[in-house]
Protein backbone atom coordinates (compact mmCIF):
# COMPACT_ATOMS: atom_id res chain seq x y z
CA UNK A 1 0.00 0.00 0.00
CA UNK A 2 1.31 3.46 -0.92
CA UNK A 3 1.31 6.35 1.53
CA UNK A 4 -1.22 9.14 1.09
CA UNK A 5 0.87 11.66 -0.83
CA UNK A 6 1.34 15.32 0.06
CA UNK A 7 -0.19 17.37 -2.76
CA UNK A 8 0.41 20.97 -3.73
CA UNK A 9 -2.75 23.00 -3.13
CA UNK A 10 -3.12 26.43 -4.70
CA UNK A 11 -5.58 28.86 -3.15
CA UNK A 12 -8.10 29.87 -5.82
CA UNK A 13 -10.85 31.60 -3.83
CA UNK A 14 -11.47 33.15 -0.42
CA UNK A 15 -14.88 33.73 1.14
CA UNK A 16 -14.93 35.70 4.37
CA UNK A 17 -17.61 33.92 6.44
CA UNK A 18 -17.44 35.95 9.66
CA UNK A 19 -15.00 38.45 11.12
CA UNK A 20 -12.77 35.57 12.24
CA UNK A 21 -13.49 32.71 9.83
CA UNK A 22 -13.00 32.25 6.15
CA UNK A 23 -13.52 29.58 3.57
CA UNK A 24 -10.50 28.69 1.45
CA UNK A 25 -11.01 26.94 -1.88
CA UNK A 26 -7.92 25.19 -3.22
CA UNK A 27 -7.17 23.60 -6.56
CA UNK A 28 -5.49 20.26 -5.81
CA UNK A 29 -4.41 18.43 -8.98
CA UNK A 30 -4.94 14.70 -8.61
CA UNK A 31 -7.34 14.97 -5.65
CA UNK A 32 -8.91 11.49 -5.27
CA UNK A 33 -12.30 12.62 -3.93
CA UNK A 34 -13.77 12.27 -0.43
CA UNK A 35 -16.85 11.66 1.69
CA UNK A 36 -18.72 14.27 3.71
CA UNK A 37 -17.22 14.41 7.20
CA UNK A 38 -13.63 13.54 6.28
CA UNK A 39 -10.71 15.88 6.86
CA UNK A 40 -7.29 16.71 5.44
CA UNK A 41 -3.91 17.38 6.94
CA UNK A 42 -2.47 20.76 5.97
CA UNK A 43 1.30 21.24 6.07
CA UNK A 44 2.96 24.64 6.09
CA UNK A 45 6.69 25.00 5.50
CA UNK A 46 8.77 28.11 6.29
CA UNK A 47 11.73 29.26 4.17
CA UNK A 48 14.18 27.75 6.70
CA UNK A 49 12.59 24.31 6.30
CA UNK A 50 10.58 24.35 9.54
CA UNK A 51 7.15 22.85 8.98
CA UNK A 52 4.01 22.10 10.94
CA UNK A 53 0.73 20.30 10.32
CA UNK A 54 -2.90 20.65 11.40
CA UNK A 55 -6.14 18.87 10.49
CA UNK A 56 -9.05 20.67 8.77
CA UNK A 57 -12.41 19.26 7.80
CA UNK A 58 -13.57 19.24 4.21
CA UNK A 59 -16.38 21.82 4.09
CA UNK A 60 -17.99 20.74 0.83
CA UNK A 61 -18.70 17.45 -0.90
CA UNK A 62 -16.42 16.09 -3.57
CA UNK A 63 -16.00 18.45 -6.56
CA UNK A 64 -13.21 17.32 -8.87
CA UNK A 65 -9.89 18.99 -8.01
CA UNK A 66 -11.53 21.61 -5.81
CA UNK A 67 -11.16 21.32 -2.04
CA UNK A 68 -12.84 23.74 0.39
CA UNK A 69 -11.90 24.29 4.02
CA UNK A 70 -13.38 26.74 6.52
CA UNK A 71 -10.92 27.93 9.13
CA UNK A 72 -11.78 29.76 12.33
CA UNK A 73 -9.09 31.96 13.84
CA UNK A 74 -7.70 30.69 17.15
CA UNK A 75 -6.00 33.65 18.85
CA UNK A 76 -2.29 32.94 19.49
CA UNK A 77 -2.46 29.91 17.20
CA UNK A 78 0.37 28.96 14.91
CA UNK A 79 -1.54 27.87 11.80
CA UNK A 80 -5.07 29.34 11.86
CA UNK A 81 -3.88 33.00 11.91
CA UNK A 82 -1.80 32.27 8.83
CA UNK A 83 -4.70 30.59 7.02
CA UNK A 84 -7.26 33.24 7.99
CA UNK A 85 -5.14 36.38 7.67
CA UNK A 86 -2.01 35.84 5.57
CA UNK A 87 -2.72 33.33 2.82
CA UNK A 88 -3.74 34.95 -0.51
CA UNK A 89 -5.16 33.67 -3.77
CA UNK A 90 -2.33 32.07 -5.73
CA UNK A 91 -0.38 30.96 -2.63
CA UNK A 92 0.53 27.31 -2.06
CA UNK A 93 0.18 24.97 0.90
CA UNK A 94 0.52 21.20 1.04
CA UNK A 95 -2.35 18.93 1.81
CA UNK A 96 -2.89 15.23 2.28
CA UNK A 97 -6.03 13.17 2.52
CA UNK A 98 -8.82 12.45 2.68
CA UNK A 99 -8.48 11.13 6.23
CA UNK A 100 -11.01 9.50 8.52
CA UNK A 101 -13.38 6.71 7.56
CA UNK A 102 -15.67 6.83 10.60
CA UNK A 103 -17.06 10.36 10.96
CA UNK A 104 -18.72 10.23 7.53
CA UNK A 105 -22.22 10.43 6.14
CA UNK A 106 -23.08 8.60 2.94
CA UNK A 107 -25.85 9.92 0.67
CA UNK A 108 -27.17 6.36 0.21
CA UNK A 109 -28.39 6.38 3.79
CA UNK A 110 -32.05 7.31 4.27
CA UNK A 111 -31.85 7.18 8.08
CA UNK A 112 -32.69 10.32 10.07
CA UNK A 113 -29.64 12.37 11.01
CA UNK A 114 -29.00 14.66 13.95
CA UNK A 115 -26.09 17.07 13.57
CA UNK A 116 -24.86 18.83 16.70
CA UNK A 117 -22.28 21.54 16.06
CA UNK A 118 -20.31 23.80 18.38
CA UNK A 119 -18.59 26.73 16.65
CA UNK A 120 -16.35 25.66 13.78
CA UNK A 121 -17.50 22.09 14.46
CA UNK A 122 -20.18 22.95 11.91
CA UNK A 123 -17.67 22.55 9.05
CA UNK A 124 -17.77 18.76 8.47
CA UNK A 125 -21.51 18.74 9.25
CA UNK A 126 -22.05 21.39 6.57
CA UNK A 127 -20.36 19.05 4.10
CA UNK A 128 -23.03 16.48 5.05
CA UNK A 129 -25.85 19.03 4.61
CA UNK A 130 -24.46 19.99 1.22
CA UNK A 131 -23.98 16.37 0.18
CA UNK A 132 -27.60 15.64 1.10
CA UNK A 133 -28.86 18.63 -0.88
CA UNK A 134 -26.75 17.71 -3.89
CA UNK A 135 -27.99 14.11 -3.92
CA UNK A 136 -31.59 15.27 -3.36
CA UNK A 137 -31.44 12.91 -0.38
CA UNK A 138 -34.56 11.93 1.51
CA UNK A 139 -32.93 11.47 4.92
CA UNK A 140 -34.42 13.98 7.38
CA UNK A 141 -31.66 16.19 8.81
CA UNK A 142 -31.81 18.18 12.03
CA UNK A 143 -28.99 20.58 12.84
CA UNK A 144 -28.51 21.96 16.35
CA UNK A 145 -25.84 24.65 16.09
CA UNK A 146 -24.31 26.38 19.09
CA UNK A 147 -22.36 29.62 18.70
CA UNK A 148 -21.45 32.50 20.93
CA UNK A 149 -23.50 35.19 19.16
CA UNK A 150 -25.35 35.74 15.86
CA UNK A 151 -22.36 37.34 14.12
CA UNK A 152 -20.43 34.08 14.59
CA UNK A 153 -22.78 31.97 12.49
CA UNK A 154 -21.03 30.28 9.61
CA UNK A 155 -22.86 30.07 6.25
CA UNK A 156 -25.91 32.05 7.55
CA UNK A 157 -27.44 32.81 4.13
CA UNK A 158 -27.13 29.21 3.01
CA UNK A 159 -28.65 27.85 6.22
CA UNK A 160 -31.50 30.37 6.11
CA UNK A 161 -32.47 29.34 2.59
CA UNK A 162 -35.25 26.73 2.61
CA UNK A 163 -33.92 23.19 2.23
CA UNK A 164 -36.81 20.70 2.48
CA UNK A 165 -36.19 18.07 5.13
CA UNK A 166 -33.53 20.14 6.92
CA UNK A 167 -34.40 21.72 10.24
CA UNK A 168 -31.97 24.17 11.87
CA UNK A 169 -32.01 25.22 15.55
CA UNK A 170 -29.58 27.82 16.85
CA UNK A 171 -28.29 27.95 20.40
CA UNK A 172 -26.47 31.10 21.45
CA UNK A 173 -24.16 30.95 24.42
CA UNK A 174 -23.52 34.70 24.98
CA UNK A 175 -25.92 36.92 23.02
CA UNK A 176 -29.08 36.18 21.05
CA UNK A 177 -30.80 38.08 18.24
CA UNK A 178 -33.60 40.38 19.46
CA UNK A 179 -36.72 38.53 20.57
CA UNK A 180 -35.09 35.10 20.49
CA UNK A 181 -37.04 32.66 22.67
CA UNK A 182 -34.14 30.74 24.21
CA UNK A 183 -31.97 32.68 26.66
CA UNK A 184 -28.21 32.57 26.02
CA UNK A 185 -26.44 29.57 27.56
CA UNK A 186 -24.59 26.39 26.92
CA UNK A 187 -26.27 23.35 25.40
CA UNK A 188 -28.67 21.52 27.73
CA UNK A 189 -30.61 18.31 27.55
CA UNK A 190 -33.75 20.30 26.73
CA UNK A 191 -32.12 21.61 23.56
CA UNK A 192 -31.95 18.05 22.24
CA UNK A 193 -35.39 16.88 23.41
CA UNK A 194 -37.04 17.23 20.02
CA UNK A 195 -34.36 15.26 18.20
CA UNK A 196 -35.40 11.94 16.68
CA UNK A 197 -34.30 9.35 19.29
CA UNK A 198 -33.44 6.93 16.50
CA UNK A 199 -31.25 9.34 14.50
CA UNK A 200 -27.66 8.77 13.47
CA UNK A 201 -25.90 11.49 15.48
CA UNK A 202 -22.81 13.43 14.42
CA UNK A 203 -21.42 15.69 17.13
CA UNK A 204 -18.52 18.02 16.39
CA UNK A 205 -16.85 20.95 18.08
CA UNK A 206 -14.51 21.80 20.93
CA UNK A 207 -13.91 18.93 23.36
CA UNK A 208 -16.02 20.33 26.22
CA UNK A 209 -18.96 20.91 23.90
CA UNK A 210 -18.75 17.42 22.40
CA UNK A 211 -18.51 15.82 25.84
CA UNK A 212 -21.57 17.71 27.06
CA UNK A 213 -23.69 17.13 23.96
CA UNK A 214 -22.85 13.41 23.74
CA UNK A 215 -23.65 12.97 27.46
CA UNK A 216 -27.04 14.67 26.95
CA UNK A 217 -27.83 12.38 24.02
CA UNK A 218 -26.99 9.30 26.08
CA UNK A 219 -29.16 10.59 28.93
CA UNK A 220 -32.03 11.05 26.44
CA UNK A 221 -31.77 7.41 25.45
CA UNK A 222 -29.79 7.65 22.22
CA UNK A 223 -27.82 4.51 21.46
CA UNK A 224 -24.11 5.16 22.05
CA UNK A 225 -23.34 3.11 18.96
CA UNK A 226 -25.21 5.68 16.84
CA UNK A 227 -23.31 8.70 18.17
CA UNK A 228 -20.20 9.65 16.23
CA UNK A 229 -18.02 12.43 17.53
CA UNK A 230 -15.19 14.59 16.30
CA UNK A 231 -13.30 16.81 18.74
CA UNK A 232 -11.53 19.84 17.28
CA UNK A 233 -9.60 21.32 20.12
CA UNK A 234 -9.21 21.73 23.81
CA UNK A 235 -11.24 24.87 24.44
CA UNK A 236 -13.68 27.32 22.87
CA UNK A 237 -17.44 28.00 22.75
Amino acid sequence: MRPLPWRAAKLVEIRQETRTARTLAFAVPGWPGHLAGQHVDVRLTAPDGYSTQRSYSLAAPEDGDRVELTVELVADGEVSPYLTEVLEVGDLVELRGPVGGWFVWRPESARPVLLVAGGSGLVPLMAMIRARRRSAGLAPFHLVYSIREPAQRLYPAELDRPDPGLRVDYLYTRATPGGYGRPPGRITRADLLTADPDADCFVCGPTGFVEAAADHLIALGHDAARIRTERFGPTGG
Binding site: M1, R2, P3, L4, W6, A8, D41, R43, L44, T45, A46, P47, G49, Y50, S51, T52, Q53, R54, S55, E78, Y82, V86, L87, E88, D91, L92, V93, E94, V99, G100, G101, W102, F103, T207, V210, E211, A214, D215, L217, I218, A224, A225, I227, R228, T229, R231, G233, P234, T235
Partner: protein, 199 residues
Protein backbone atom coordinates in the same frame (compact mmCIF):
# COMPACT_ATOMS: atom_id res chain seq x y z
CA UNK B 1 10.74 18.30 -1.44
CA UNK B 2 8.40 20.44 0.60
CA UNK B 3 6.74 23.50 -0.88
CA UNK B 4 7.39 26.71 1.03
CA UNK B 5 4.24 28.64 1.91
CA UNK B 6 4.72 32.35 1.25
CA UNK B 7 4.88 34.40 4.41
CA UNK B 8 4.77 31.43 6.82
CA UNK B 9 7.28 31.67 9.65
CA UNK B 10 5.88 29.39 12.31
CA UNK B 11 6.06 29.78 16.01
CA UNK B 12 9.45 30.26 17.70
CA UNK B 13 10.69 26.74 18.19
CA UNK B 14 12.01 25.46 21.46
CA UNK B 15 15.37 24.21 20.24
CA UNK B 16 15.93 21.84 23.15
CA UNK B 17 13.03 19.46 22.51
CA UNK B 18 12.94 16.97 19.72
CA UNK B 19 9.50 15.90 18.56
CA UNK B 20 8.49 13.20 16.08
CA UNK B 21 7.99 14.52 12.53
CA UNK B 22 4.83 16.58 11.97
CA UNK B 23 4.09 16.94 15.70
CA UNK B 24 3.74 20.17 17.69
CA UNK B 25 3.94 20.75 21.41
CA UNK B 26 0.83 21.34 23.50
CA UNK B 27 0.41 22.04 27.18
CA UNK B 28 -3.28 21.12 27.45
CA UNK B 29 -4.54 17.58 27.25
CA UNK B 30 -6.77 17.36 24.17
CA UNK B 31 -9.29 14.54 23.78
CA UNK B 32 -9.81 12.26 20.82
CA UNK B 33 -12.56 9.65 20.82
CA UNK B 34 -14.90 8.35 18.16
CA UNK B 35 -18.02 8.45 20.31
CA UNK B 36 -19.46 9.41 23.68
CA UNK B 37 -17.47 8.89 26.87
CA UNK B 38 -18.56 5.67 28.61
CA UNK B 39 -18.99 5.73 32.41
CA UNK B 40 -18.02 2.50 34.14
CA UNK B 41 -18.84 2.07 37.85
CA UNK B 42 -15.87 0.59 39.69
CA UNK B 43 -17.88 -2.22 41.28
CA UNK B 44 -18.73 -3.46 37.79
CA UNK B 45 -15.30 -2.85 36.28
CA UNK B 46 -13.08 -5.72 35.31
CA UNK B 47 -10.05 -6.27 33.18
CA UNK B 48 -9.36 -9.53 31.35
CA UNK B 49 -6.60 -11.13 29.34
CA UNK B 50 -7.93 -13.81 26.98
CA UNK B 51 -5.35 -16.21 25.57
CA UNK B 52 -5.37 -17.89 22.17
CA UNK B 53 -5.99 -21.17 24.02
CA UNK B 54 -9.27 -19.85 25.44
CA UNK B 55 -8.10 -19.14 28.98
CA UNK B 56 -9.20 -15.94 30.65
CA UNK B 57 -7.39 -14.14 33.44
CA UNK B 58 -9.54 -11.52 35.21
CA UNK B 59 -8.97 -8.70 37.65
CA UNK B 60 -11.57 -6.70 39.54
CA UNK B 61 -10.84 -3.10 40.51
CA UNK B 62 -9.67 -3.99 44.06
CA UNK B 63 -7.48 -6.74 42.60
CA UNK B 64 -5.87 -4.29 40.18
CA UNK B 65 -5.29 -1.80 43.00
CA UNK B 66 -3.58 -4.52 45.03
CA UNK B 67 -0.94 -5.13 42.37
CA UNK B 68 2.40 -3.33 42.50
CA UNK B 69 2.13 0.01 40.69
CA UNK B 70 4.68 1.99 38.73
CA UNK B 71 4.82 5.72 38.11
CA UNK B 72 6.02 6.20 34.55
CA UNK B 73 6.84 9.65 33.16
CA UNK B 74 6.24 9.53 29.43
CA UNK B 75 5.75 11.65 26.30
CA UNK B 76 2.43 11.36 24.44
CA UNK B 77 2.08 11.72 20.67
CA UNK B 78 -1.41 11.93 19.15
CA UNK B 79 -1.99 11.28 15.45
CA UNK B 80 -3.95 14.57 15.30
CA UNK B 81 -0.48 16.21 15.59
CA UNK B 82 -0.14 17.26 19.22
CA UNK B 83 2.54 15.98 21.55
CA UNK B 84 2.58 16.42 25.29
CA UNK B 85 5.84 15.84 27.11
CA UNK B 86 6.74 14.45 30.53
CA UNK B 87 3.28 13.35 31.65
CA UNK B 88 3.07 11.51 34.97
CA UNK B 89 1.01 8.35 35.33
CA UNK B 90 0.38 5.61 37.82
CA UNK B 91 -0.55 2.12 36.76
CA UNK B 92 0.26 -1.56 36.64
CA UNK B 93 2.83 -2.77 34.15
CA UNK B 94 1.57 -5.28 31.59
CA UNK B 95 4.60 -7.38 32.61
CA UNK B 96 2.93 -7.88 36.01
CA UNK B 97 -0.42 -8.76 34.46
CA UNK B 98 1.16 -11.11 31.93
CA UNK B 99 3.41 -12.85 34.47
CA UNK B 100 1.14 -15.90 34.87
CA UNK B 101 -0.33 -15.88 31.39
CA UNK B 102 0.79 -18.74 29.18
CA UNK B 103 0.84 -17.77 25.54
CA UNK B 104 2.69 -18.15 22.27
CA UNK B 105 0.59 -15.47 20.57
CA UNK B 106 2.32 -12.67 18.69
CA UNK B 107 -0.52 -10.17 18.49
CA UNK B 108 -2.87 -8.43 20.85
CA UNK B 109 -6.30 -6.94 20.22
CA UNK B 110 -7.15 -4.49 22.97
CA UNK B 111 -10.85 -3.90 23.62
CA UNK B 112 -12.66 -1.27 25.63
CA UNK B 113 -15.91 -0.46 27.35
CA UNK B 114 -17.91 1.33 24.63
CA UNK B 115 -16.73 -1.05 21.90
CA UNK B 116 -13.41 0.51 20.88
CA UNK B 117 -10.62 -1.82 19.73
CA UNK B 118 -6.98 -1.43 18.70
CA UNK B 119 -4.28 -3.91 17.71
CA UNK B 120 -0.57 -4.18 18.27
CA UNK B 121 2.17 -6.80 18.44
CA UNK B 122 2.26 -8.42 21.88
CA UNK B 123 5.94 -7.56 22.30
CA UNK B 124 4.99 -3.87 22.28
CA UNK B 125 3.07 -4.46 25.49
CA UNK B 126 5.96 -6.16 27.32
CA UNK B 127 9.35 -5.28 28.79
CA UNK B 128 8.29 -2.10 30.56
CA UNK B 129 6.65 -0.53 27.53
CA UNK B 130 2.98 -0.57 28.59
CA UNK B 131 0.73 -0.09 31.62
CA UNK B 132 -2.89 -0.25 32.68
CA UNK B 133 -2.94 3.31 33.98
CA UNK B 134 -5.46 4.70 36.45
CA UNK B 135 -3.99 7.98 37.66
CA UNK B 136 -2.76 11.02 35.75
CA UNK B 137 -0.75 13.85 37.32
CA UNK B 138 -1.57 12.59 40.81
CA UNK B 139 -5.34 12.51 40.25
CA UNK B 140 -7.64 9.65 39.37
CA UNK B 141 -7.95 9.39 35.61
CA UNK B 142 -10.94 11.39 34.30
CA UNK B 143 -13.50 9.57 32.15
CA UNK B 144 -12.80 11.73 29.09
CA UNK B 145 -9.16 10.70 29.23
CA UNK B 146 -10.04 7.02 29.59
CA UNK B 147 -10.83 6.57 33.27
CA UNK B 148 -11.23 4.53 35.34
CA UNK B 149 -8.32 2.86 33.52
CA UNK B 150 -6.71 3.02 30.10
CA UNK B 151 -3.92 1.24 28.35
CA UNK B 152 -0.78 3.38 28.20
CA UNK B 153 1.64 2.42 25.45
CA UNK B 154 3.42 5.71 24.85
CA UNK B 155 5.94 4.67 22.20
CA UNK B 156 3.05 4.35 19.70
CA UNK B 157 0.51 7.02 18.64
CA UNK B 158 -1.99 7.59 21.40
CA UNK B 159 -4.92 5.85 19.69
CA UNK B 160 -3.12 2.59 20.61
CA UNK B 161 -3.42 3.56 24.30
CA UNK B 162 -7.04 2.42 24.42
CA UNK B 163 -9.20 4.41 26.85
CA UNK B 164 -11.72 2.62 29.10
CA UNK B 165 -9.76 -0.58 28.59
CA UNK B 166 -11.63 -3.77 29.32
CA UNK B 167 -9.35 -6.49 28.09
CA UNK B 168 -6.70 -7.82 25.79
CA UNK B 169 -7.22 -10.75 23.45
CA UNK B 170 -4.04 -12.60 22.50
CA UNK B 171 -4.00 -13.86 18.93
CA UNK B 172 -1.77 -15.66 16.47
CA UNK B 173 -2.89 -13.31 13.71
CA UNK B 174 -2.93 -9.55 13.51
CA UNK B 175 -6.54 -8.36 13.69
CA UNK B 176 -7.12 -4.68 12.78
CA UNK B 177 -8.88 -2.56 15.38
CA UNK B 178 -11.22 0.42 15.09
CA UNK B 179 -9.01 3.16 13.61
CA UNK B 180 -6.83 0.59 11.86
CA UNK B 181 -9.93 -0.49 9.91
CA UNK B 182 -10.75 3.17 9.16
CA UNK B 183 -7.51 3.90 7.32
CA UNK B 184 -5.01 4.46 10.11
CA UNK B 185 -1.66 2.70 10.27
CA UNK B 186 -1.45 -0.83 11.60
CA UNK B 187 1.56 -0.13 13.86
CA UNK B 188 1.62 3.64 14.42
CA UNK B 189 5.21 4.57 15.30
CA UNK B 190 5.27 8.38 15.68
CA UNK B 191 9.03 8.58 15.01
CA UNK B 192 8.47 6.99 11.60
CA UNK B 193 5.30 9.11 11.12
CA UNK B 194 3.12 6.02 10.57
CA UNK B 195 -0.21 7.88 10.66
CA UNK B 196 -2.18 6.31 7.86
CA UNK B 197 -2.17 3.01 5.98
CA UNK B 198 0.84 2.86 3.69
CA UNK B 199 2.91 5.45 5.63
Amino acid sequence: MAIVSRGFQGRRREESVKLPPGQYLTYDFPVLSAGPTPRIPLDRWEFAIDTEAGQTHRWTWPELMALPAEQPTVDLHCVTKWSKLATHWRGVSLDVLMADVETTAEYALVYSYGGYTTNLPLEDLLDGKAWIAYAFEGEELEPQHGGPARLLVPHLYLWKSAKWVRGIRLLHEDWPGFWETAGYHDYGDPWREQRYQGD
